[in-house]
């Protein structure tokens, strides 16, 4: 079967914009005749300067396909040509070029028992999966373990909490739990019965997540990884 061609570039209008945390911006956009997407897929956002220069980056979708708008969460990168523009310059009503949805690997089918182990802005695909699980009435199939620095620094923390996600804080002492990412003891019960584990976060987080999932007895072939950002070395 020949893979289907990817949809062409289209326009999206910013309908809502807010800043869930100091370093992130959330954009909710309208796209005419938007195709169905699976939770975990991403879109390209392209900016175009008057001289024809363009810059494009990919961003995970936070919204469920049934949401009337397409939602992105963007972390402001130091000197980030696109992320700083989206955070500081873009306004409600502006039109940006979009292309997607992209990616058929880091996606949840809504049927397989799964665990998301995600950190920082890596929570975004997990949020999309959680929203889809709620729509399908199958939240029993999807567990989420999310790591942030502190409750006010993790986008979607209240929503994840309401979903029933396990949350770990690396820089905050919450409810008597000492600061730190999940330990194998904490994660092991969540791994039980899981067919796929999704690890998403920075390169450093993804390495930690892979090791932890393997340590909890998960087979490497059932771990799907999405990393972003520089290596830090």
């Amino acid at each position: 079967m020949a893979p289907a061609p990817l949809a062409a570039w289209t326009d999206g209008r910013i309908i809502e914009k807010d800043h869930p945390t100091a370093h992130t911006v959330r954009l909710r956009m309208h796209v005419d005749d938007r195709p169905f997407h699976l939770p975990g897929q991403h879109y390209l956002i392209r900016l175009r300067a008057p001289d024809g220069y363009t810059a494009q980056r990919s961003y995970s979708v936070a919204s469920d396909s049934d949401d009337p708008l397409l939602e992105f969460l963007v972390e402001r990168q130091p000197d980030g040509e696109v992320s700083e523009f989206l955070a500081d310059v873009a306004e409600v009503g502006d039109v940006l070029e979009l292309r997607g949805p992209i990616g058929r690997w880091f996606v949840w089918d809504g049927r397989t028992p799964a665990l998301c182990l995600v950190g920082g802005t890596g929570v975004v695909p997990a949020v999309a999966m959680a929203r889809t699980a709620r729509r399908l009435g199958r939240t029993d199939l999807l567990r989420i373990a999310a790591v942030g620095r502190a409750p006010d620094e993790l986008a979607y923390a209240p929503e994840l909490q309401r979903y029933g996600a396990d949350l770990a804080w690396t820089r905050a002492d919450v409810d008597g739990r000492a600061p730190g990412a999940f330990t194998a003891d904490e994660l092991a019960p969540l791994v039980e019965g899981v067919g796929i584990a999704y690890a998403c976060g920075s390169a450093r987080f993804a390495s930690y997540a892979e090791e932890l999932l393997l340590a909890c007895g998960l087979d490497a072939s059932s771990i799907r990884v999405e990393r972003f950002g520089p290596t830090g070395d």
């Binding site: 020949a2 893979p3 289907a4 061609p5 990817l6 570039w9 326009d11 900016l47 175009r48 300067a49 008057p50 001289d51 220069y53 363009t54 810059a55 494009q56 980056r57 990919s58 040509e81 523009f85 310059v89 873009a90 306004e91 502006d94 039109v95 940006l96 070029e97 992209i102 990616g103 058929r104 690997w105 880091f106 390169a203 993804a206 390495s207 892979e210 999932l213 393997l214 490497a220 072939s221 771990i223 799907r224 990884v225 999405e226 990393r227 972003f228 950002g229 520089p230 290596t231």
Partner: protein
């Protein structure tokens, strides 16, 4: 296509002809992108196999592979996620040298590169012959780090970097093209950055 209100070029215009369309110079940073868990198999246990449509299928051990006359690529690399990185130095063995031993048959026209993780990527044979492709274990004079595909990585720098399979363990020669991992997942079969062949249908 509409101009984005308020957006202007912030980076200096790159040297003419160096940056493929839609790419940016990532400077000193080298992003890591993978789809699967990083393999932990020690380098000493690594093997590389060339088989399929060849007269002499061959498997090299880690020490045998490094006994080939060294070959070095100095130049740029381009990732489909839009970063490019200039002036990289990779060292290893030319794929030509491996194929000289294995001796492809006349029917061989495509290669499927396999990683120990199960990752695969497909390439026309013509894209890995004639001094255009390497199997490398060093970057900038140091062992290639695991996260960048060490101990052994395919290097096909004239195509988008997902073609340069990390943790490569096998090159299988075939008569017909067969989509690899990202190619089945929506990415282009050839992936020429200068033609911006990012996705199926580009």
């Amino acid at each position: 296509m509409p101009v984005t209100r308020g957006f202007q070029r912030r980076r200096p215009e790159p040297e003419r002809g160096r940056l493929p369309p839609g790419q940016y110079d990532t400077g000193s940073s080298w992003p890591v992108l993978t789809a699967e868990a990083t393999p932990q198999q020690p380098a000493e246990a690594w093997q590389l196999t060339v088989d399929g449509l060849v007269d002499s299928p061959h498997t090299w051990s880690w020490s045998e592979i490094r006994a080939f006359p060294g070959s070095t690529y100095v130049g740029d690399i381009h990732c489909v996620t839009t970063w490019s990185k200039f002036d990289m130095t990779f060292s290893g063995v030319s794929v030509d040298d491996l194929l000289e031993v294995a001796s492809p048959t006349d029917e061989a026209a495509y290669v499927l590169a396999h990683s120990v993780t199960g990752y695969t990527t497909n390439l026309p044979l013509a894209d890995v012959t004639g001094g255009k492709a390497w199997v490398v274990w060093e970057v900038d004079g140091k062992p290639l780090p695991r996260q960048h595909g060490g101990p052994l990585r395919l290097l096909v720098p004239h195509l988008y970097f997902w073609k340069s399979a990390k943790w490569v363990s096998r090159l299988k020669l075939m008569a017909e093209d067969r989509a690899g991992f990202w190619e089945q997942n929506g990415y282009h079969d050839r992936g020429d950055p200068w033609l911006e062949q990012r996705y199926q249908g580009d």
